[in-house]
Amino acid sequence: MKINFYVNHNPVTIEISADKMLVDILRDELGLTGTKISCREGECGTCTVWLDGVPVNSCLLPAAKVQGHHITTIEGLGDTDNPHAVQERIAAFGGSQCGYCSPGFVMVSAALLRDNPTITRKNIIEGLSGNLCRCTGYTRIIAAVESLADPSVEIPLPEEVK
């Protein structure tokens, strides 16, 4: 079947088999490999994209569903020349080690901050509950996001170092 939709504001027309998931179209057909695949069950959040500005798991989203809609991927939020504030801050705070979970965390965090610029730490943690990280222990990711809502928040350091 043919689908027409928008990816990062660019119109896309593509022929797909009807039971393809969006993540495979984005990565394999459109070469947008910033969106990652890990669990393929909607549990880990590495595949997070925006559907009309709303974070969703693209591993579970039939591509047929996006007909006429706007998809935003990590490539649409920022890059090394022009990073999104969330990307810059997570990097500065040491909230990325292997980097595999990072696009997903950026996609959700950017939406959370956009919708509530003074979001609380509690609500950040709830909002990020669909994203898993095996490397960082989450503290620096959460602090990075919180620092964009509350400028007084600093990089969390162990007590011995302070």
Binding site: L51, K65, S129
Partner: protein, 284 residues
């Protein structure tokens, strides 16, 4: 998983497509459970999936003087952000907030959670204590309404034929003075299936419990009303409601199993204690 994906924009078109081959069609709304059912092989491939999430009348949350109706394709996020739900049946919003994570809630639907009929479905106990009706339309455009209690027939089994679509859920507007409560017991803070879930609905009059409805999930093939405790509480003065004796026969209404989330004994003990805690908190 499927050959053709249809996205009808009205109910009649959806029914027409299904009617061409009901045994070879499957309805999809959000798909967050269904896609996994297909990809894991739990469901065999079908010819057609019919996506009902673009049908406007299935996306409405409405209220009239008598009742509130929620369309089957309303997403969990839409329920959470609905002022109408927050003001009249807040436990639906509370339950939705504890399902999965943000990305899932933005796509998953109320209809999907109910029709999928997992014994642990979190939206079911709150709907059961509203004494909710399920609204169903068939391919002859005939509409029937059935109490949710009867719609749920067993573990992932519902009273729904392949020629039918659930269009919405309807319940009486709760009186302003009713107290409602929801709690989900789970092994993680989020992204977890319930070990148990509980919804309570209570009306107080002259310092007595005039009316109480208690529903619990993940303790039987479907969520169930705890009639033994409801009977003991109804008419009781509120200061007597914390008596542990009232809650010690809950095992008559539930039939929990042991699974990798919890043992049968754990569920029996927790069922008893959280019901008492709920009532105490509601009356406190």
């Amino acid at each position: 998983m499927w050959n053709t994906y249809f996205s009808p924009e009205n109910i009649q078109d959806a029914l027409q497509i299904i009617n061409r081959g009901p045994d070879q069609s499957r309805i999809i709304a959000g798909g967050t459970d269904l896609v996994l059912d297909f990809s894991s092989g739990r469901l065999p491939p079908v010819d057609a999936v019919v996506d009902i999430s673009n049908i406007p009348e299935l996306k409405i949350i409405s209220k009239d003087s008598e009742s509130i109706t929620i369309g089957s394709a309303v997403t969990l996020s839409e329920i959470i952000h609905s002022d109408l739900i927050q003001n009249h049946a807040g436990i639906l919003s509370e339950a939705a907030q504890q399902i999965a994570g943000l990305q899932i809630r933005n796509i998953a639907t109320l209809g999907g959670n109910v029709v999928n009929a997992s014994p642990a479905a979190d939206m079911v106990p709150p709907l059961l204590v509203q004494e909710c009706m399920v609204i169903i339309i068939n391919s002859d455009q005939v509409i029937r309404e059935i109490p949710l209690e009867n719609f749920l027939q067993g573990n992932r089994q519902v009273d729904l034929s392949r020629c039918e679509i659930v269009t919405g859920f309807k319940f009486q507007v709760p009186e302003a003075k009713t107290i409602q409560y929801f709690r989900k017991v789970q092994n993680r803070g989020s992204m977890a299936i319930a070990v148990l879930n509980l919804a309570v609905f209570m009306g107080i009059k002259d310092k007595h419990i005039a009316q109480v409805r208690i529903a619990m999930g993940a303790v039987a093939p479907t969520a169930v009303r705890i009639k033994s405790i409801e009977e003991r509480l109804t008419g009781l003065p509120i200061y007597e409601a914390d008596n542990p004796q009232i809650y010690n026969e809950i095992h008559k209404d539930i039939a929990p199993i042991s699974d990798f989330r919890a043992t049968r004994n754990y569920r029996l003990r927790v069922a008893q204690s959280i019901t008492r805690q709920a009532v105490v908190q509601m009356l406190g």
